[in-house]
Symmetry: C2
Subunit: 358 residues, 2 copies
């Protein structure tokens, strides 16, 4: 049983659109470089990958923000690119440049060689981290497992790292769409196996990050991202009732596709700050819970400004959700940045809980 | 008279939503590094700024793509940051890093010192370029003048260059909105004076680039970008009838705001590739012409793929515009990149003209 001993189940209740005493909040990249204790752990571990691949260190980092702030969920500390690394692409990091792959896949032949990794062998370090964190959390809050989306993983796998214009993968989409579908298909199989294994190891909610879905034209999104998110939502076994492990599909720039996402079988949709939360609630019509969507830059504001912006997002959701706060998980519209002030996070968490409790 | 001797007025007719024999096309950054002749001129001139500030070289570069391709408009070769440079911020370029300012403005005191530059003194080199290009074009196609939007200029002026998260300007927006409004107000006065001067010098259409409008939440866009675009559309004197100098408001990420933009008094709205052109046409309801919106990455596709994507955009517009191609200026959804193949531009221009002429 994954939820039997939870002391705080606000987050899971909100994802089921049930009443809550206050709106739950967690923050994407809540365990990160803005925390001095994270930087200290990293100095000790030596590198980002060394941290992510060591279950004890991954656990330590996952729990750091929970020791400081009254957050309603923990999220596994790991990398978004563990799957392609386990497929053999050779993940590495260049300081200040983000992730890279030694062996990107750029043609049908390279794609045909890819297979779904064994989750308890090549990706055992992730599952061990989930198990360790669950034990350490001891029911304090639920633990979120996660994966990159098939399209977002494919972007990194083809481009070999980050990209400004995604020229290589878009060229394949235009010139050899079948090859790209083959890549997306194996990625989808892998994501489903990966999230299933995280669930089996103890993850109590699962989030898919479609970080690069928003670089696609609507026609390309409908061809190369949405169908694979839909397949994950359909095929990922996740239980029922209070034992259900909810799925959240977060997408940067997904606001053009909210109706389709609400119909794709997911439990919740995460949105960025480029759409009014109230509009998102109206357009999804109560079919899913919504997670979001404060502009992360709000954390650069004064405490007063942060409180005002938090209230605005809470009210916007409620106004678009027939006057009810149910079904809302508060979050940022994107991840936190290293130069943010931890004190400001405390202010945000306080205001979300305080204001939504009224 | 600005349009009396035009041999090709397709572009201006489309902006007036009049019938045309084929859909006009030009491409953002059509004069640029993807052309070997541009790279040669740049080698000779020494730097980007040296090119932009020399009217003869600016003219030469403006005309380069027209010698190769059957484009329906020329656009002034200049920089988006001429106005803040003329305000005294000290524009410079670092190779591979984009534009920077020596003296960014970061508080109300610095903002209070800003004034509208004299267009025929500090920005005379721009007006001279417009005059030179008009003479050289000799009525071949219309010449587009342009400016950055008040918000986009403010982003560079506050951040001191490009930015990933616009932390500084968003902090001002949150903590001292009146200071930001003061900056946006003087920028708006300057943009209106700048575009008026370009029109007086011979520009036959005017485009405002709201490149960074899309980083704003809807509430912030409505407060910090839209009102200033609206003021430009309202106050910029631009004539009437066939002598009217049309205004195009291009905005990256403006799809959430198309209805408001269609009502703001502009002649045309430029959109990126993240919205279906047909949907944009339906939502703007014939109130404005639309410019766009092929994903620039389409130019990385094969000639067949480029033709297919061009037809798709043309058909999407027509389907959303009550079956008519009127009021559409074909363009990319964003600027061209240095690694694009000039041969592919020829294919695109050919297909847009060929297919829309049927």
């Amino acid at each position: 049983m994954n939820v039997d001993r939870l002391k705080n189940d606000r987050f899971l209740r909100a994802l089921r659109r049930e009443p809550v005493d206050r709106t739950p909040i967690w923050l994407m990249r809540q365990a990160g470089r803005y925390l001095p204790e994270y930087r200290e752990t990293r100095r000790r571990a030596g590198s980002f990958l060394a941290m992510a691949q060591n279950p004890d260190i991954a656990c330590e980092i996952t729990l750091q923000p929970l020791a400081r702030f009254d957050l309603d969920a923990a999220i596994l500390f790991s990398d978004i690119l563990t799957i392609p690394d386990a497929m053999g692409l050779g993940l590495y990091f260049v300081e200040g440049e983000g992730p890279k792959f030694r062996d990107p896949v750029r043609d049908a032949a390279a794609i045909a060689k890819l297979g779904v990794p064994d989750m308890e062998r090549e990706l055992r370090y992730v599952m061990d981290a989930v198990r360790t964190i669950r034990a350490e959390l001891d029911g304090k809050v639920p633990l979120i497992g996660f994966s990159g989306s098939p399209w977002t993983l494919a972007c990194y796998m083809v481009e070999g790292g980050g990209s400004k214009d995604f020229a290589r993968i878009k060229a394949i989409a235009l010139n050899d769409p079948q090859a790209l579908h083959a890549l997306l298909s194996v990625n989808t199989d892998a994501v489903i196996a990966y999230l299933s294994a995280q669930r089996a190891a103890g993850a109590q909610a699962l989030q898919v990050f479609d970080t690069w879905g928003g670089v696609l034209s609507p026609a390309m999104y409908r061809e190369f991202s949405l169908p694979y998110l839909t397949r994950i939502a359909a095929e990922l076994e996740r239980g029922a009732g209070v034992e259900r492990t909810p799925l959240i599909l977060f997408g940067k720039g997904n606001s053009a596709h909210l109706e389709a996402l609400a119909d794709c079988g997911t439990d919740a949709v995460g949105v960025d700050w480029l759409v009014e939360l109230g509009e998102a609630a109206r357009r999804t019509g109560g079919k899913v819970a919504l997670q979001g969507n404060l502009d992360p830059a709000a954390l650069y504001g004064s405490p007063e400004a942060i409180r005002r912006e938090a209230r605005r997002a809470l009210d916007s959701y409620r106004d678009g959700n027939a006057g009810s706060r149910e079904g809302h998980v508060f979050n940022l519209g994107h991840g936190m940045s290293p130069d943010m002030d931890p004190e400001h996070v405390a202010v945000l968490v306080d205001e979300v809980h305080r204001y939504s409790a009224r």
